[in-house]
Point group: C2
DNA sequence: CTAATAGTGTCTCTAAGACAGTATTCC
DNA sequence: GGAATACTGTCTTAGAGACACTATTAG
């Protein structure tokens, strides 16, 4: 319990500016990607207590001479070997008392989105890094350390909201992509089906979202017409062409759990 | 420079778990309210350096035995006398090196929304608390300490986004309110005009948003029909009935600065 | 009375969604 | 050839916005 080497309280009015409680500050990085049509998270397995036998979100101590984002990027490389994560969005700070039994620590959590994770290394104090489906990590079939389940849940909530509001969807796909790949980002993250033709009209029918390359993707082993390859346009900096349809909550005559809407293929839950 | 009493680095692989850099952790609270039809922020004026002559967002040191939210609530009361801020949303952590010249500090910023601030006290180390229009604070006519201008800007951005996605609008109004009061929340925060009749239809025309009390508000000194008073319904827990119209960015033939849309009273910029 | 604010009714138009049909590949 | 995937075109409908009109107050 190193963190209890705190400053002393001074009277009832607060703290003397030169005496204050000290904390460790860590940066955690939730790395999300889509593989096999599912949202996956990169977790590390650590040997030492109190992590033993549990999975953790990669992270480590912030240093005074670096920003939070720089610290996140450094820890990411050190622990997992993942480099060049284009965007690191900070989405929450976690400081409940006792969340780490070893010390007083506040963790600042970041979200990184990648088209794919490369070769995973075994970092300094990580006994291994692996991709795990988000659904499994959240449903408890994968045991997470400390409050990391809550952090992961918040990260997923954030990415779902950001798909509505930002161009984060394009970070899940590579430099060129097919419209099906892009559509599957929304489908995997939101857990819904989107009509391919309506999706195409929304994205291609307006300038600035996607720029056609003159190339086509090779069909998979099951055949099919080769899909056109696009690059992301500048407009993603302003938002997203696709919006999550407003869920039919609290409608009289339909339960929130199973909304019975007559016009609805989109917004339909996946099974 | 108290914070430089850091732990020592160990080799090139990271930190020894028992030796780590120590930080002060502060919680800052951006208190927003609407007064005179404008979004206003509660700022404190502090006497001592390096604050001297500058305004600051209220806040103070987190203690190890409390959560971040508890710390925010405590500091809020101590510094401004504001109590019962229903909701404290955390929206960011700030840890750039040197952002506070006195020590290594990471600040976790919170957003509080109130229908009105009561009597403002002069807290422990605050030389006074005052309401300041957000526009003035952001345009620099009010000098803010450290990186507080950026924190405030992030807070405003967050509340704007939350108006779309959450029931935060109801926190700006009292336990009962008129539809005009509610509409003015969106108008003040988004800086747009909304059509009163369409706003009414959207909010009243669907169950669960507002519950009529049988009372009416007294008109102002300029007369007018007395407005019906409502309570907030449960549905605000799921979202908002009103959505910001998608800004017409990058449309061919219209600049982002002055979109010339034929059908548009709503979404029109305020002057 | 007039000015001001609250509230109703109705029209138009856009964009989302449903879905039938065509094109091009793999096996 | 058939199955699978990509893409096009069209119809329907919900909802946003515009706006004319009525209702009720202060002065």
């Amino acid at each position: 319990m190193v963190g209890t080497k705190t400053g002393k309280r001074k009277g009832k009015k607060g703290y003397d500016p030169s005496k204050f409680p000290v904390f460790a500050v860590t940066v955690d990085v939730v790395i999300l990607t889509i593989a096999a049509g599912r949202l996956q998270v990169l977790l590390v397995r650590r040997g030492a207590e109190p992590y033993k036998g549990r999975w953790a979100i990669p992270g480590g101590f912030k240093r005074p001479e670096e920003t939070l984002q720089e610290a996140a990027r450094r820890e990411l490389v050190e622990e997992t070997g993942v480099e060049g994560a284009g965007l690191l969005t900070q989405f929450g700070a976690y400081g409940d008392p006792g969340r780490d039994p070893r010390m007083n620590v506040v963790s600042v959590a970041h979200l990184a989105v990648l088209p794919e994770v490369g070769d995973l290394i075994t970092g300094s104090d990580a006994a291994g890094a692996f991709l795990v489906p988000v659904s499994e990590a959240l449903q408890g079939s994968v045991a997470l350390a400390f409050d990391h389940a809550r952090i992961l849940a918040d990260a997923v909530e954030r990415v779902r909201a950001d798909l509505d509001l930002t161009g984060i969807a394009t970070l899940f796909v590579g430099p060129t992509f097919t419209l099906t790949e892009l559509r599957e980002v929304y489908e995997a993250a939101w857990g819904i089906r989107l009509d391919p033709s309506n999706f195409r009209r929304r994205v291609v029918g307006e300038e600035g979202w996607v720029i056609p390359t003159r190339r086509r993707a090779r069909p998979g082993s099951t055949g099919g017409k080769p899909a056109e390859l696009f690059r992301a346009g500048r407009r993603w900096q302003q938002g997203s062409p696709v919006r999550r349809s407003r869920p039919n909550v609290l409608r009289p005559g339909s339960s929130a759990r199973e909304g019975r809407r007559s016009p609805a293929t989109a917004g339909k839950r996946l099974t």
